[in-house]
């Protein structure tokens, strides 16, 4: 079975040289962990994945497509509902498969990386692409985390991204220049994807989906990030310039927006760490709180865009009780400044706290219990909260 998989992979990505090596039947450890290469070939490749299973006891989140019942969707936290209903669910979302290829190319590393994830739909699962990119030395092209954040700052939690956390993946073209003193500068052009509120959409129920997406962008988002890597940890400061754009029929509106962010991880002792992320600007609303905020709203004549300045922050502490047991406590908060004239049922602020305890007798296996408390408040002052307990089991398999 294993050789069959290798043969399939080689057929898809390999060369005659690798196929010849495969025919000889000899392969050795690759250039990076979790990969193999055939004798005589300089290409290392790896396939792997992880199986993740969740048992969830939660307050019932309203939603149209059930995503909020398994994931943390702030805009789907029930508002002023007093029925105290709860539900128990199982899901295997976040299970993943990945493939990678690595080889030297002149004086650089050449990487291909594809990672997919299973996301649950009613009665079934769909697979979608989390990451799909190639990189040659400092150049990266494809889909991955937005350059605006340092992925090392993402907390080790299972119940979803907090309101101040930026978890977006974007199609992008990124150049990262590393310097000898531990600094690196990244410049990127990224997929824009403006999210705009329609002022004339009628919303009568606070427990309904409230944001419309219109993607008619004409200019890529420009992102820059300056990072430091030192023995104490790593910190990045990033800026982003976006053109928010809407057009329909003969009408067109656009607005320049921007944001600044800081993210990083600070070592506390040897392995414990603090992870943080904060961002502010009138172009960051779509990036934080998982779509609860739009980037901008149209005026009632569809002629002008009013941006939504937003602020989000996330702080997490990870503590290793011993090599097998670890915990994370993560606190997040966000707020958007919404213009007059839009529905008063839009989310104005959100907050959450997550705490967990994981057991990993071997690095490949994690079993953990996590508690989530999340809140949202609407522009009209109404608010709601959601409590969720999640038992997670995760097993990672690599070559």
């Amino acid at each position: 079975m294993f050789r069959f998989c290798i043969a399939v992979v080689l057929t898809m990505f390999g060369t005659g040289e690798m196929l010849a090596a495969e025919a000889q039947g000899s392969f050795v450890s690759g250039a990076v962990p979790g990969t193999v290469r055939f004798t005589g070939s300089e290409k290392s490749f790896g396939i792997g994945g992880r199986l993740e299973s969740h048992a969830v006891l939660s307050d019932v989140a309203f939603d149209a497509n059930q995503s909020g019942r398994d994931r943390l969707r702030f805009s789907q936290i029930p508002v002023e509902r007093n029925d105290n209903s709860s539900q128990f669910r199982f899901n295997s979302r976040d299970s993943r498969l990945w493939f990678r290829l690595q080889r030297p190319l002149q004086d650089h590393d050449f990487n291909v990386y594809v990672e997919t994830e299973f996301t649950d739909k009613p009665g079934t699962y769909n697979m979608f692409v989390r990451h799909a990119y190639l990189s040659v030395g400092p150049l990266l092209a494809g889909r991955s985390y937005t350059t605006f954040i340092d992925s090392a700052a993402l907390p080790d939690v299972d119940s979803g991204s907090g309101p101040g956390e930026i978890f977006l993946k974007r199609g992008q073209l990124r150049w990262t220049q590393a310097f000898d003193n531990g600094m690196e500068l990244a410049l990127a052009l990224e997929e824009p994807d403006s999210v705009i509120n329609d002022p004339n959409s009628v919303i009568n129920d606070p427990n309904s989906n409230r944001t419309s997406t219109i993607e008619d962008d004409q200019v890529p988002t420009i992102v820059s990030k300056l990072g430091w890597h030192e023995d104490w940890g790593q910190v990045s400061v990033a800026t982003m310039i976006r053109e928010l754009c809407w057009q329909q029929d003969n009408k067109h509106a656009s607005e320049l927006a921007g944001a600044i962010g800081v993210s990083g991880r600070l070592n506390v002792g040897v392995v414990n760490n603090i992870r943080f992320m904060a961002s502010y600007g009138n172009g960051v609303g779509r990036f934080i709180t998982l779509g609860a905020y739009a980037d901008a709203s149209l005026d009632s004549n569809y002629g002008e865009l009013k941006t939504h300045p937003a602020l989000g922050a996330q702080l997490a502490y990870q503590h290793f009780w011993n090599p097998a047991w670890r915990s994370t406590v993560s606190v997040g908060w966000s707020q958007a400044s919404l213009p007059d004239g839009i529905s008063r049922l839009m989310t104005e602020r959100a907050g959450s706290i997550q705490a967990n305890l994981f057991w990993s007798p071997v690095p490949e296996l994690s079993v953990g219990l996590e508690y989530l408390h999340a809140r949202q408040q609407l522009l009209n002052g109404q608010d709601g909260e959601l409590n969720r307990f999640m038992l997670s089991t995760r097993y990672t398999l690599e070559l």
Binding site: V32, P33, Q102, Y113, E115, V270, P323, P363
Partner: protein
């Protein structure tokens, strides 16, 4: 890879602790205590940080590789320091109360330590697990041989 790095830690920590405090011929030297202990502690911390990267569930594998390489590079630097200390040990042999044959043996073992350290440094820099495993095994043998013969003298 993790096993290999663990072996490195055990070997280098063993080198450090066995020299620390006793001293060769009763002498306290920079090479004995301070540098050995600092190196061992440093390498242990780096290894532990590599180990917990396995729990960074949201980062991509190439991103994690980059962090591993960074730590491996520092392990290589520490192995380079160990190599320098081996040079000091060779020079130290002149001032020890040893017979001529023992002195030659001590110098040969110090040279072995130096070359084994250089191999570890080279393998860690290349992130090549097989080369690293072989060089660590040789380093371990060198440490054991030297300590069994000259510890406390």
């Amino acid at each position: 890879m993790k096993k290999v790095l663990l072996v490195i830690l055990v070997v280098l920590a063993g080198c450090a602790q066995s020299e620390h405090g006793t001293g060769i011929d009763g002498r306290e030297s920079v090479s004995d205590a301070a540098l050995h202990a600092l190196m061992a502690q440093r390498i242990e911390e780096l290894y532990q940080r590599i180990e917990v990267l396995a729990f960074d569930q949201n980062r991509t594998l190439p991103e994690l590789d980059q962090d591993r390489r960074r730590a491996a590079s520092e392990i290589a630097n520490s192995a380079g320091s160990l190599s320098s200390i081996a040079t000091e040990l060779m020079q130290l042999s002149e001032s020890l109360d040893l017979t001529e044959s023992n002195r030659q043996q001590f110098q040969a073992l110090s040279q072995n330590l130096q070359s084994a350290s250089n191999e570890v440094r080279s393998a860690a820099a290349d992130a090549s697990s097989e080369d690293l495993a072989n060089s660590v095994t040789r380093l371990q043998g060198t440490c054991t041989a030297c300590h069994s013969l000259y510890r406390g003298r």
